[in-house]
């Protein structure tokens, strides 16, 4: 009995916490006059389905495409640079590795909004701002690469050393053992961490806002910010935009929920 009382309380707390999400979807479905009703309604009286309209009017396809491009670029670059580094940091133990790991942990905490000033000036001087989406990919990669290394390292630590050593004794080269033994065994962790990096970069805002000048190249976050403007009152549309944007993120999250939680906790506390 007590367990079910707890379940009901737990459900109520979760519902309270997730209320802002409910309100987003609800507002997206309400009619444009219903949102300005007072007292507000908690269930749409006449649900409107204006997702396609907002998608077209706000040019969301282009914004989402730019966000996707940046997120894919960052994810590829990060996995290529970070996986090997995470592996080495999990296997070799000496003072130099300790120093390298410490430096990487320090770079993990640098706020984008503070790093963007020197990065903007530097990229401007070497002409990188001419291809601003690449500039955002490079800057965002530097931001998330340390996190990827830390989380992936935790995965590699869990792979038994003996498996790799056995392969080496059998005459495999280091490269061979890395690709045939280590990578397949760490696959799950690498995958989940990459998804996490992808989702974070898909919602990136500071670098896109600061480094991209042309509206055609802007990301979905900046598109939303423009939509909100100083005198926004089309909350109906804004929440529709937000719902279209975050629903895929939430679906991926729901599918991988358990793994994301365990990957995150392993990395943050080790």
């Amino acid at each position: 009995m007590k367990r079910y009382v707890l379940l009901v309380i737990g459900l109520m707390m979760t519902a309270t916490y997730l209320f802002p999400l409910y309100w987003m979807y609800l507002t997206a479905l309400k009619g444009s006059s219903e949102i300005f009703q007072y007292p507000p309604t908690f269930w749409p009286s006449d649900p409107q389905w204006n997702f396609l309209e907002i998608w077209k009017n706000r040019d969301m396809g282009r914004y989402i495409w730019n966000s996707l491009l940046i997120a894919i670029g960052v994810t590829i670059l990060v996995t290529m640079l970070g996986t090997g580094c995470a592996y080495v940091l999990s296997r070799v133990r000496n003072v130099w590795m300790e120093i390298a790991l410490f430096a990487i942990l320090m770079m993990q905490v640098l706020p984008s909004s503070l790093m963007v000033t020197p990065i903007f000036v530097m990229f401007n001087q070497i002409g990188l701002l001419a291809s601003p989406r690449i500039a955002v990919i490079l800057a965002q990669t530097a931001k998330v690469l340390p996190l990827y290394i830390v989380l992936c390292r935790a995965t590699f630590v869990q792979v038994p050393r003996e498996l790799e050593e056995a392969a080496l004794v059998d005459g495999s080269s280091r490269i061979g053992a890395f690709f045939r033994i280590m990578l397949p065994l760490a696959r799950n962790g690498i995958l989940v961490t990459s998804v996490l990096i992808f989702l974070q970069s898909f919602g990136e805002y500071v670098y896109a806002r600061s480094l991209i000048a042309k509206n055609e190249l802007q990301t979905a976050t900046v598109g939303l910010q423009t939509f909100m403007g100083p005198n926004a009152n089309d909350w109906n549309g804004i929440m529709t935009y937000a719902a279209i944007y975050v629903t895929p993120i939430l679906i991926v999250f729901m599918l991988l929920q358990r793994r994301i939680v365990s990957g995150l906790t392993a990395g943050a506390l080790k």
Binding site: M106, M115, I249, L269
Partner: protein
Amino acid sequence: MQGIIRTIRDGSGFDILLLGLALVYLVAFSAFPIIYNIIMSLQTVDMFTITSFKRPFVGLENYSTIFAQPIAATVLWNTVQFVVLSIVFQLSIGFGLALFFQQDFPGATYLRGLFLAGWIMPALVVGAIWKWLFAGDFGVINYVLTALGLTDDRIFWLSDPNVALYAVIIANIWLGIPFNMILLSVGLASIPRDVYEAAELDGAGPLERFRSITLPLMRAQLGAVISLGVIFTLQQFDLIAALTQGGPADSSNVAQYWSWQLSFQTYEISLGSAVSVLMILFVIIVAAAYVRSTRHEHSY
């Protein structure tokens, strides 16, 4: 040449190559910008000198200009409030929820995981949703507060300079709760059950058990979560951009946002650099303390 290929294929050259790739990248795009930032904070950098490689050095003038600005004190005090209040509430609510979901009931783990939905969403979208929740005339928060009789009048959360900062803090607390809760849950799960059972046999009540077992055994975890909280709170930019943009009249402006405003809105880039240098320094000190404390426990 052969030797180099062999060591990369089969020796320590392999390790050095893999480690080197990532480190060179981070040095070029993280470490170098920090150094460049320090140099810029000692120069005059504005729209005219931004592309030049020879800029006049002005010593510490930018730093004194920053502190002489009338809003410097406001921003500093706001930043302190933003960090302290965010962390106090994120931590206590997160800890409470972690304790609750630690109990044995059906679906506890699943429900706890659902909270992370708030963490995975882009902060700018979270800001957009909260801006609508906080809306003065038609916002649902004002409706709930007046319906419950907690306030008589509508609160203009985002346009009243006395409350704008607290509105941003509330949204930031919402964002930070899941992370705090999950990390603290891991710590709670690692406390052996029999310790509690033994204490219960000795007649210790729930409060006594919490005070004498949970808190001391969670000390390291709490320390880690607090330092991570400081770090993440100082990274928060998107939420402020979506909600108030530092306004009205800088009443909700914090250091990391001010630095960006100086560089990208008023183009006083060297002033932006100076603020940025000070804040990065602070973040690194906090992070170093955090890393030292966690390393200490897992020393091998």
